[in-house]
């Protein structure tokens, strides 16, 4: 009772889809407000300042990208975009434009909940002091203060770039990071297009941390979009 349950704004023009998302969220004790158009979405966001936004990219009055951009002008609210398959380009644009994560239609309720939970936790975590030691799964432990990485109990030597890459992913644990975001965070804004560097270092990192790099447990590839550090929730 002391802490109110999170308020989620669902922006979706299909009434049936909206209903499904609302029911799923409400059954997990979220409070839900709805919007059917981009304009309505911005109005609702201004009036209610929700804790998270679930945003469909295809809206009748302009795409979800606009909504993301306008929200980001004044808000850091976590945004979860929903889109159809085969729209990798627009997903990447939305993510680069400030969205936090994405879901591909059709998706299950469990998937939606998991993503939302990560996004909310991330938003909460950013307001707190960073933790010194991060545990990824059962096997990887990262000491952010001492800059040490242990895999299955053994220390693993990482190059500075590999380490920077890993910490960038750790900061967004559970959420997708686009190639561009990673490149800018690790190499700096001038290197946003040198995708192959990223891929080579990512492969090396995977080989150092994963038991079977071809079937990774934490360093997961999102084809056409970027990478995600899978964190157990």
């Amino acid at each position: 009772m002391t802490e109110p349950t999170p308020l989620v704004l669902v922006v979706e023009d299909e009434p049936q889809m909206r209903k499904f998302v609302r029911i799923a969220l409400e059954s997990h004790d979220y409070r839900v407000i709805e919007a059917g158009t981009a304009l309505e979405a911005v109005k609702q966001a201004v009036s209610y300042t929700p804790d998270a936004v679930v945003l469909d990219l295809g809206l009748p009055d302009g795409d979800g990208m606009d909504v993301t951009r306008r929200l980001r002008e004044w808000s850091t609210v976590p945004i979860l975009v929903i889109s159809a398959r085969g729209q990798e380009d627009s997903k990447v644009k939305a993510l680069d434009g400030g969205a936090d994560d994405y879901l591909t239609k059709p998706f299950g309720a469990a998937e939606l909940m998991a993503r939302l939970r990560v996004a909310l936790r991330h938003a909460a975590a950013s307001r707190e002091a960073p933790t010194a030691i991060v545990q990824v799964g059962d096997e990887v432990v990262i000491d952010l203060v001492k800059r040490l990485v242990h895999v299955r109990g053994e220390e693993v030597h990482l190059t500075p770039i590999e380490y920077k890459l890993l910490t960038a992913l750790v900061k967004h644990a559970g959420m997708v990071m686009t190639h561009r975001q990673l490149l800018e965070q690790v190499w700096g804004p001038g290197h946003a297009h040198q995708m192959q560097y990223l891929r080579v270092y990512m492969t090396q990192l995977r080989h150092k941390l994963e038991a079977n790099p071809a079937r990774p447990k934490f360093l997961v590839t999102e084809p056409g979009i970027g990478y995600r550090l899978k964190a157990d929730v």
Partner: protein, 906 residues
């Protein structure tokens, strides 16, 4: 089968009906026929036209009528619609011609066109007015026209003989004979002369003297008789035609032919006309024959042109022209006459002096001797009236090189004889000189060899005959030696020349045969229309020295330039206009023809077995060879070959399209049946399961409810996969698939695909064997992920639950090869190819999809330049494999090692 053979082809019937319609739709030609100017043809025509307009209420328009300022004729024009004339300027003179296009556009019932024999001003569409009239009739417009007897082609020279006036403007007899009606406008000769004296007959100023000759009572009587007789002949023929058509009487047996020997002689045209008249009066066919012998090879350019003209004359008179090749012209002519069942041979009188026949019998003699039962008619070659334009004196400059060679060779011969034999062995010396002549005649040709013969005799006399070093001859016997020596040299020159000519001719015909062979082979085998046209262009350019453009009908039926060399079809509109005329009328036009001779090119219709195909345009250049009959014939053959080849590609294209349509139709059907079945099943399950859950009398048991939900969920997921595959397939087929290739490790995509498939792979052991040192490969990660997912999905569908899977990657030559292996039932060799076909499923109905998954895989892999196939896996199971090209060094370049970066980063 035999029962159906005699059934008439409906297409053919339709064509015949159309043809008949066309004939009935053709306009009627009425000719007002007179024997001389001034008999009142135009006047009578106008009167008749007024009658048509006023009594019959027909739409009558005056196309062109010359009143020559005569009041009574002019007054008849009042009230008739006059078509504006087309002004033409030619060499500063303002001329007015019939506006053919305006007439065709106006489309009256009846058009008046005076002076059928008129020659149009240069730059008009047709050379002659009768061609304009022909086109008008073809458009279904009735025409009234006027004609004088002396303008009839076959009577042309007879009239010239009678009157001494040569008439250049002629009309083919066929026009006269096929006209619907001929109305004779007759006037007693005395009255005509009276009118002439009164100045009522129009006489052009410049022809006043000729006219004086023309309008003599004797002439006029003869012309009048000629006109009446010609008309009577026509009526006679009509009568016979009527009888024949109504089966009244078979009065003459067909197949009779008159054969006329055509030659390059200027008098031959007269011969042809005479033969035509004979054939007409006998109702026989006319065949013009020319036999090419050795002698024909020596014909000059002018002679060749004249020969071609004479042959064309035969054709324009409705005869058939034939060129034969043989050693002996007379023998061949008679043989051919027999073969064609000709009963009469028309030959010209010989023009050669009698003495030449001492050595060689004349053509005429041979014909007469060999003709046996065939009648031979000999007709005078000479005709005072026939004026042949003097052929320009042929410049035959003795080639300096040839003359020089003759001098040099004879000098050399002299030296050899001098040092080799001296002044005593005269026989050997003569041989040396003759050898010299042979060398010159072989190397330098006829004239230099004659020069060498003369020089040889002179040098022989000068150096070897006493008194030496003088041209005087002491012994008369030597004169004989000179004569024999000279004669032998000339004979050698002649023989050598003949051999050379034969070789040239053989080379020429070999060249023609070779080019024909090459054309028929290349054009016939060309796989596409563009290649075919390119091949045709190359050969036409080589053989005729022309630049080529080809116009073919486009999808809208309008002619389009399908092929054009640079510099052709530039003035698109004008050239296209000519091409369209050719297309419409299926006759050649342009340079060298009677129609639109001022065009930039020669336009030839291309015909195939099923009808018109297109138009070939030949643009002449400096080295164009289209002059003689041989070339024209060759061109016709070429055009025929190209026409049927183009038609063949068009038919092939049509067949291909029809096949595609049928295939598409079949695909659509199987898609519909697949989709309707495969989409409905999961939908039915979802609907059924959810309705059971909603039903208040439905299962209350929590376990049963959960099971129903589980089923509905699974079916919904399956539905999702089906729709995804259908969409992918549509995208692939629409060509909307965009491949964003980026260099990346295959390992990532394999990982992503396995991750995506996690739920469905649960309970299976999946082994991955991907070497760490694989190079980066350029591919679209989302698409290749899809390929892997489809392959893995297939494996889960068609192999027993829990059986292990394996994903292997390795480099194989220039490719990265990826395998997805299972331990299922495998794919038999029979299905190995077909599993990748659309809608094909090796095992029906095992919870499978629409049979598109592998088709999509193949499409995606092919878009990457790779290949996908399935193999029997050793130890059982299937091994699906696909390749992606490594693409040289650029794509797997070595990236900077991390160690180098390390120092920089710290």
């Amino acid at each position: 089968m035999s029962g159906t053979e005699r059934r008439p082809d409906p297409d053919e019937l339709l064509a015949r009906v159309r043809e008949e319609e066309q004939i009935s739709a053709r306009g009627k030609l009425t000719i007002f026929f007179g024997f001389a100017p001034g008999v009142g043809k135009t006047y009578t025509m106008l009167e008749a036209a007024r009658g048509e307009a006023e009594d019959q209420k027909r739409d009558v328009v005056v196309g062109i009528v010359e009143t020559h300022g005569r009041y009574d004729t002019g007054s008849l024009l009042i009230g008739l619609e006059l078509l504006p004339r087309r002004p033409v300027e030619h060499r500063g003179i303002q001329l007015e011609e019939l506006d053919l296009d305006a007439a065709l556009k106006r489309r009256p019932h009846l058009l008046l066109v005076d002076e059928l024999a008129h020659t149009n001003a240069p730059g008009s569409r047709h050379l002659k007015r009768w061609q304009d009239v022909d086109e008008l009739l073809g458009a279904g417009i009735d025409v009234f026209t006027t004609l004088n007897v002396q303008h009839l082609e076959t009577l042309n020279d007879v009239v010239a003989q009678i009157t001494g006036v040569v008439v250049r403007e002629t009309v083919p007899d066929a026009v006269f004979d096929t006209s619907s009606e001929v109305r004779v406008v007759d006037l007693p000769v005395d009255e005509l002369l009276e009118r002439l004296r009164e100045g009522k007959v129009y006489v052009p100023q410049q022809a006043a003297r000729a006219v004086d000759n023309f309008f003599r009572a004797g002439n006029l009587i003869a012309l009048r008789e000629l006109a009446l007789r010609r008309t009577a002949e026509r009526v006679d023929a009509q009568m016979r035609g009527y009888k024949a058509a109504h089966g009244i009487e078979e009065s003459w047996h067909t197949g009779e032919r008159v054969l006329v020997c055509v030659s390059p002689s200027p008098h031959s045209a007269r011969l042809v006309r005479a033969a035509r008249r004979m054939a007409t009066s006998l109702h026989a066919e006319l065949v013009g024959v020319y036999v090419e012998t050795q002698a024909s090879l020596r014909l000059s350019v002018e002679d060749r042109e004249r020969l071609a003209q004479n042959m064309r004359l035969v054709e324009s008179l409705g005869g058939e022209s034939v060129v034969l090749r043989a050693e002996d012209a007379a023998v061949e002519t008679v043989r051919y006459a027999r073969k064609r069942n000709a009963t009469k041979i028309v030959v010209g009188k010989p023009t050669r002096p009698r003495w030449r026949e001492l050595f060689r019998s004349s053509f005429l003699d041979d014909i007469v001797r060999k003709s046996m039962e065939i009648d031979v008619y000999v007709i005078s070659g000479q005709s005072g009236a026939e004026v042949t334009p003097p052929s320009p004196p042929r410049q035959k400059p003795l080639a300096l090189a040839g003359g020089g060679a003759a001098v040099a060779v004879i000098a050399l011969s002299t030296a050899v004889a001098w040092y080799g034999f001296g002044q005593e062995q005269l026989a050997d010396v003569v041989m040396v000189y003759l050898l010299g002549v042979v060398i010159v005649s072989m190397r330098n040709g006829y004239v230099p060899s004659l020069l060498a013969a003369v020089l040889g005799v002179v040098a022989f006399d000068f150096f070897f005959i006493p008194p030496y070093y003088s041209f005087a001859v002491s012994d008369l016997r030597h004169i004989v030696t000179f004569a024999v020596m000279f004669l032998v040299a000339v004979v050698i020159s002649n023989l050598t020349k003949r051999i050379r000519d034969q070789a040239d001719s053989a080379r020429g015909s070999e060249r023609r045969a070779a080019s024909l062979y090459a054309v028929s082979r290349e054009v016939g085998l060309a796989p596409s229309r563009d290649l075919l046209l390119a091949a045709a262009d190359r050969h036409l350019r080589e053989v005729f020295g022309v630049r080529v453009a080809v116009l073919l009908p486009g999808s809208d039926g309008m002619l389009e330039g399908a092929f054009a060399e640079p510099g052709t079809l530039d003035e698109a509109d004008k050239d296209k206009g000519v091409a369209e005329w050719v297309w419409l009328h299926q006759r050649s036009a342009g340079i060298g023809t009677d129609t639109l001779p001022s065009a930039r090119a020669l336009f030839v219709p291309l015909k195939g077995a099923r009808g018109r195909v297109g138009v070939l345009a030949l643009y002449p250049s400096a080295e164009t060879r289209l002059g003689d009959a041989d070339d024209r014939q060759l061109l016709d053959t070429f055009a025929g070959l190209i026409g049927s080849a183009v038609e063949r590609t068009q038919l092939a294209e049509e067949a291909r399209r029809a096949h595609l349509r049928a295939e598409t139709e079949q695909l659509r059907n199987s898609l519909l049946s697949s989709v309707s079945h495969d989409l409905r099943t999961p939908l039915a399950v979802v609907t059924g399961a959810t309705s059971a859950l909603l039903d208040e009398h439905g299962p209350k048991d929590e376990h049963a409810r959960r099971e129903l939900l589980q089923t509905a969920h699974e079916e919904a997921l399956r539905l999702n996969r089906l729709v995804r595959n259908l969409l992918d397939m549509t995208r692939l087929e629409a060509g909307a698939l965009k491949v964003h290739e980026e260099l990346q490790p295959i390992e990532e995509v394999v990982g992503a695909a396995l991750d995506r498939m996690e739920d469905r792979l649960r309970g299976r052991e999946v082994e991955t064997r991907i070497p760490a040192d694989l190079p980066l490969v350029a591919f679209d990660s989302a698409l290749i992920e899809q390929v892997l997912i489809n392959l893995l999905e297939n494996a889960t569908k068609y192999t027993p639950a829990g059986s292990p899977l394996e994903v292997v990657a390795r480099t194989q030559e220039a490719f990265l090869e990826v395998e997805v292996n299972d331990r299922g039932p495998g794919v038999g060799p029979r299905d190995a190819e077909r599993v990748f076909d659309k809608f094909y499923r090796a095992h029906e109905g095992e919870g499978g999809g629409v049979g598109l998954g592998l088709t999509i895989c193949r499409g995606i892999v092919a878009a990457h330049g790779g290949r996908i196939w399935v193999e029997e896996r050793t130890g059982g199971g299937a091994s699906f494999r696909f390749t992606l090209p490594l693409e040289g060094k650029a794509s797997n370049r070595v990236l900077p090692a991390p160690e180098e970066q390390e120092s920089e980063a710290r």
